[in-house]
């Protein structure tokens, strides 16, 4: 059963990660690995497209917290896009929109870099 998946597309200097399925304590390491791979390649401008993400728990939110300092110290950022209402509500409940820019559309997020 594919309970979580992550795919990547590079658009010039920006990398877009498409995450799908369920992001929890079991699947968070796979997402972490995808971000770590980008940082190892020196790619610090990241957009995460949430269009196909059905579920997120605090373990998933923790992945964003785990990398943001390193990314911003390297003049990059993680921008978020295409969130469903269900997933946005959890980000919003904890106040994450004050730390991360969230866009309706992936292209808009890419252009912000």
């Amino acid at each position: 059963m594919a309970e979580f998946g992550v795919e990547r597309k590079d658009v010039n200097g920006v990398s877009v990660l498409y995450i799908k399925g369920y992001l929890d304590a079991h699947t968070a390491p796979e997402f972490e690995q995808a971000i770590r791979q980008l940082l190892n390649e020196g790619r610090y401008k990241i957009v995460v497209n949430f269009k196909d993400l059905s579920y997120i728990s605090s373990a998933g939110l923790g992945v964003f917290m785990g990398f943001i300092e390193e990314i911003r110290n390297n003049k990059g950022d993680i921008k978020l896009s295409n969130m469903t209402d269900k997933v946005f509500r959890i980000f919003d409940l904890l106040g994450f929109p004050s730390l991360y820019e969230i866009f309706q559309d992936e292209q808009e997020a890419i252009e912000k870099f």
Binding site: Y55, L61, L94
Partner: protein, 170 residues
């Protein structure tokens, strides 16, 4: 027809790979009990957080045992009790989070218990290390006024502190 009463039990090994099964189990019961998808998701996240705490912390340094999930449906509420036989912890060592400070420190982790309190109407911890540690979480079908909810939480907190005082004096 809405499922208004019942008692449902799931016992599963303490492993993160079972989180999906636990969420499905609780979600289906909550849906049948009449909760909207938004509330089903809230209940699933709260239960996920409680079970993740068990997986990541309860059996540290021990041979992992099971996670026990009991769901009780009444006419006006759904109660989920997540139990383990692990090391236990002091729920009072997790004060309400100041999210501004949390973000300022760019800290990671520590959101689970805070989220449980944010998502559920009542939360109560019963800790007996090595024997049975439980977190009991209640969601009302018809949201209780927030002042009443706060009062309920205050009573539960006092009861929990009283039990702790009692355990220490034994």
């Amino acid at each position: 027809m809405d499922q208004k009463r019942g008692r449902y039990h799931l016992n599963t090994p303490s492993s993160s790979e079972n989180l999906g099964q636990i969420r499905d189990f609780v979600g289906e019961i909550a849906r049948k009990a009449g909760f909207t998808e938004e509330y089903v998701n809230k209940i699933q996240i709260a239960v996920d957080e409680a079970c993740t705490n068990v997986v990541q912390h309860a059996y540290k340094g021990m041979i992992p045992k099971d996670i026990d999930v009991l769901v009780e449906v009444n006419s006006d509420k759904l109660t989920v009790t997540v139990s383990d036989q692990g090391r236990g912890f002091d729920p009072h060592s997790f004060p309400p989070l100041d999210m501004n400070a949390y973000f300022a420190n760019l800290k990671r982790g520590g959101l689970g218990i805070y989220l449980i309190h944010m998502l559920m109407d009542e939360v109560e911890f019963m800790i007996n290390p090595g024997r049975k540690n439980s977190v009991r979480m209640v969601k009302f079908l018809h949201p209780v006024e927030s002042s009443e909810r706060k009062q309920n939480q205050k009573i539960l907190l006092e009861k929990s502190r009283e039990r702790k005082r009692h355990a220490v004096s034994e």
